[in-house]
Symmetry: D2
């Protein structure tokens, strides 16, 4: 009961990093919609590893094979299954992790939960690689949302202490969305790229890693989407976003800043503008009472630094029952944030399509 | 599909602020456990209004009647239903909200969603009053968790710009938990109470309101609880916590601070201590890969300021289609944070019992 | 996880026969629809006990109080809770059942499942009385379905060896539906009533009980409702109908007769009639591949004889660990079939509203 | 929301008869259990086509590739995905069905539901071929159940008017179960095989098909499994069994015969036998109040004749809007019942593992 999501559109993700293959089943898609498969692949390419120095040098073609649910480019209404074969695996690198769990990683908790039977190679089902089928599923869902005028874009809000500009919460242009959606290092202010890459490179050369934040916006949502209480938009998006490895926080609109505000500052005044009801500000991130108010939905997710670092670390040896030291081998991203951008967009699409 | 939560223990909350009654059905409770009903009422009293100047002067006895599922003090295994009758309602106060939605409140989004058929009186199903049955259900779940050695405590981490101390993330004493659990203004450092109350009083006299944060800790969780991906502990707790009105953010462990860290700082080293595996720090909030690691689970929620303030505010008139001004009458909390503490504990219990 | 049903419209039934009250929460109802509460009460009256000699002499007013979800006669969109207080209980009658489980009843299985903590009085949560809130919920759902032209009617197809005529599976008039819906002893051929009542009376005077079958039809369903495989119309209706105590079988269309047929007999030929596609026969009961074909959906449920009979029966004594004899006291229906008719209609409505 | 089943163990079936592949994802399996993959393949072989004259001559190797969730023979706890490639497809045969739906088949209802976008070739997702991954998933679940002493066996109870003996409902030997489990024409009384095969051959030579019934028994279930009302054992099994194409009825224990009985006949007396509580008869099929009573769970499913017959049939032409005649080409089973036996066993396993 772990790797499935959704009631209307059910996503079931499978696969382990060094197994035969990974993939996803998407059940509940409406028949008849045309899918731009090139557009899906473009999103997967944004997440794929091996492109530059911020990412792991492991290269995977990541080409999904659609086994069912599509005839030509058209959804048939039957469950859609896509499979990505694992090809470029170096399983020898992981042998010592069976004894010495990596700090900050799921090695220890998975060991306890699965009694040591889980596939430790490459992190197994906990690997960031499992986000590839998520991006596939999200790309399908995004295309269906776009047919209804709903667009999703995210950007690197910060890496370490280097910040990008934020979205204008009341007005997000299609042009900006288009630019972010096609970028593999998505920034609103592209001048920050150099400083951010320097931050990552600084961590990498120190055999270290660095975290960051991702801000995501959704435009085109009509007011009235979502439910009060437990099926509110915030809860649904949060549940989906915490499904992405390394996410440790989420805030909507001004989020934690709201806690320091007074109501007279935080309340977003309603006004008529061009015949539509809008809010002058958007501190609430487009959601009131769990339900969209017609403004852009905006949230920020906190991504912790990649736990796999090459520095020597303190850990325990589960076999000897003694404290130990660990030097992690294998290929790892010094900063996961740029590649996590399309993943956050993807799970947002998956959450939203279940609310609409 | 809004007001139910859970797969193992299903919580179904019902009621509107000014209707005949509110309550909850809890389905899936194990037969045979004894419930300390006085302990349940004590938790409900912590949330109940009308006690001091930080809260709305509306008084409700809030005494739940158990209709089913208990025989004497023992759970029968059948669904437990508890009902609280609404008695002290002043519905006349809300008449103008049918036309002019309150900024920051769900009036407008509910109007769109329900086409105006929802019960606007007192906020209807969106009222904070609906958290009373949540606290009831949470108190039952907490007692069941406590029988397994699992304890939950929350405190006011901040109101406006006044902060409490935080939990020691590696060591939380039963004594502290007991003290917080019986407090109606729960603080780790009780010396901060005066300053916090002054912050609320300052907002109240300015016809304003103020937000805050609540930190919550869970002790006694064994390692190995939770699932990878979408049913991880973070996602489950987040979904439940966003079910509480006014929550706009959640972070686990160091949360958003992690985004600025390097892996060498954020990774929590494993060590053997008294024969058990623990972590020296607890930046991850007791959760790795969605699964508990045996350390306290710790998270912080951001609570926005109460949107209902007595100041004149800009809004729209849905009837005339013109911009308007609104002065809200009725009884409202200048700061919801102290009363939200037991609610956050309650939904945490509800989330956890579904993971165990 | 026992007494809830549905994903779109969630029904959560609670209560024990001799507890404080029984009732239901219905979550997911659309706001704005008007409910004819008199029509709801009329359906509940059809199920209510104490009317004639086929039924238990226990009288209950069975008047539900709506606590939430309605304002006047209009659904507010919030969860609807209705409560029926238990008033006429004679709990002393059940004391010996704690030791000696009734054959054919759930006493023994509930004892094992709940470790003896369940409320045995009156059958507790297993009592047929718990079908009262089901009829309430079903009546709400039926009214919503009727607004879409969908009608449901059931009749006593047989009691013991006395049969009623069956529905014409290709053509069921609104007039017949209306007559059945308002009858407390629903028959297509009303001339059979005397013989059926004689069958029941014969069982009653022999201190015995008798079973029967109920045939149910749904008209007005457009083709294309339902899903392939596990969420097909047959599976959904079956799951709901087996939720009614005493149901031991269900068949759609010709059901078990189909097993003896050849394809050339059982296949229903398609033809155009008045511009619409219909089938000349309706052996499939209006469902092909789990999906409606636009013809009436027709099924039959088998109801076992009431297990509580006054004759001396063999059983075990759980306390002494020895074989024993049991004479059941208390008030019981010699034939549950007439009262089960509106219950079958109700759960059918609940199942269908989740498919539409 | 169609092709997934289960809350604890989630089964997600995908594939279309003539697409790239079919398969299943099984989420929620416990880590560490060893799977006998040869045993799984043996079950799949029982269902596979092309073995004798009762079945379609289409041959498929049906060899599943496990992509994830197993390391060697051990379950890793991650979702298990198995894929079967489609190899032997003759899609040209189905072209005319786009215009003229086959009577008794899902062509018309799928056309309406999916607006013509579904994959009609070979029946697409509605094909009996999709039961291959069900048997795979069921075989995994069966092995896990067997480790707990629970065994499942089914047999052909009847084909047309030729009957097999029934199970002794109070005593089913492991030897009989073993024999049935390894048979591809499973009968209790093997002397009936010749007559049954003659019945099928008679239908086949008449360009017709024939239906039948399958009786299924489960032994080793402890008392106390299942829930009252909607999650009872009957409802869960029924929902799963109606997920198998061509099933039109299900009855537990004596089923429809109970409707003609009196309570004094149908009630199963409890007695102590060898220190255990058993019932002298088993008319209730091992289930009381939705909960197992420790006796074998027994049910019978009705299977309609294969709708695809070579005789000329009346249908409509969706393109011309006129009545039409249809002669079906392609390869079809004159009797699906023998191959459906392992499928019924499989879905029973899937249902039960979700109840335990």
């Amino acid at each position: 009961m772990s790797s499935t999501y959704g009631e209307k559109i059910k996503i079931s993700v499978f696969g382990e990093s060094h197994g035969n293959g990974i993939g996803v089943v998407i059940d509940g898609l409406s028949a008849g919609a045309e899918i731009d498969i090139e557009g899906v692949l473009a999103q997967m390419k944004r997440r794929a590893p091996g492109r530059d120095k911020t990412a792991t040098p492991r290269k995977e073609s990541d080409l999904p094979e659609v086994l069912s649910g599509m005839l030509g480019n058209t959804l048939t209404g039957a469950p859609l299954c896509a499979v990505i074969k694992n090809t470029n695996t170096k399983s020898g690198d992981y042998s010592n992790l069976l004894e010495c769990p990596r700090p900050g990683h799921s090695d220890y908790t998975a060991f306890v939960k699965y009694g040591g039977a889980n596939d430790i190679r490459g992190g197994g089902h906990f690997s960031g690689r499992i986000t590839a089928p998520l991006v596939f599923a999200g790309a399908i869902c995004r295309q269906l949302l776009e047919k209804r005028g709903i667009k999703i874009a995210a950007h690197i809000k910060s890496i370490g202490c280097v910040n990008d500009s934020g979205f204008d919460p009341t007005e997000i242009s299609d042009e900006l969305i288009g630019r972010l959606n096609s970028s593999s290092f998505a920034l609103i202010d592209e001048n920050r790229e150099e400083a951010m890459r320097a931050e990552v490179e600084s961590a990498r050369t120190a055999l270290d890693s660095v975290g960051g934040t991702i801000e995501c916006a959704v435009t085109g949502l009509t007011p009235g989407i979502g439910e009060p209480m437990f099926d509110g938009v915030e809860g649904e998006i949060a549940k989906a976003v915490f499904g992405v490895p390394a996410v440790k926080g989420i805030e909507f609109g001004k989020g934690f800043e709201l806690a320091k505000m007074r109501g007279s500052q935080s309340n977003d005044p309603f006004v008529y503008k061009d015949g539509r009801i809008v809010t002058e500000t958007n501190n609430c991130g487009g959601i009131l009472g769990g339900i969209t108010n017609g403004m852009p939905v905006i949230f920020t997710a906190a991504i912790k630094p990649t736990p796999s670092i090459a520095q020597k670390q303190k850990t325990v040896n589960l076999k000897t029952g003694k404290n130990a030291e660990l030097e992690i081998k294998g290929r790892h991203d010094p900063c996961i944030v740029p590649r996590a951008v399309p993943v956050i967009e993807a799970v947002t699409a998956i959450a939203l399509i279940n609310l609409i």
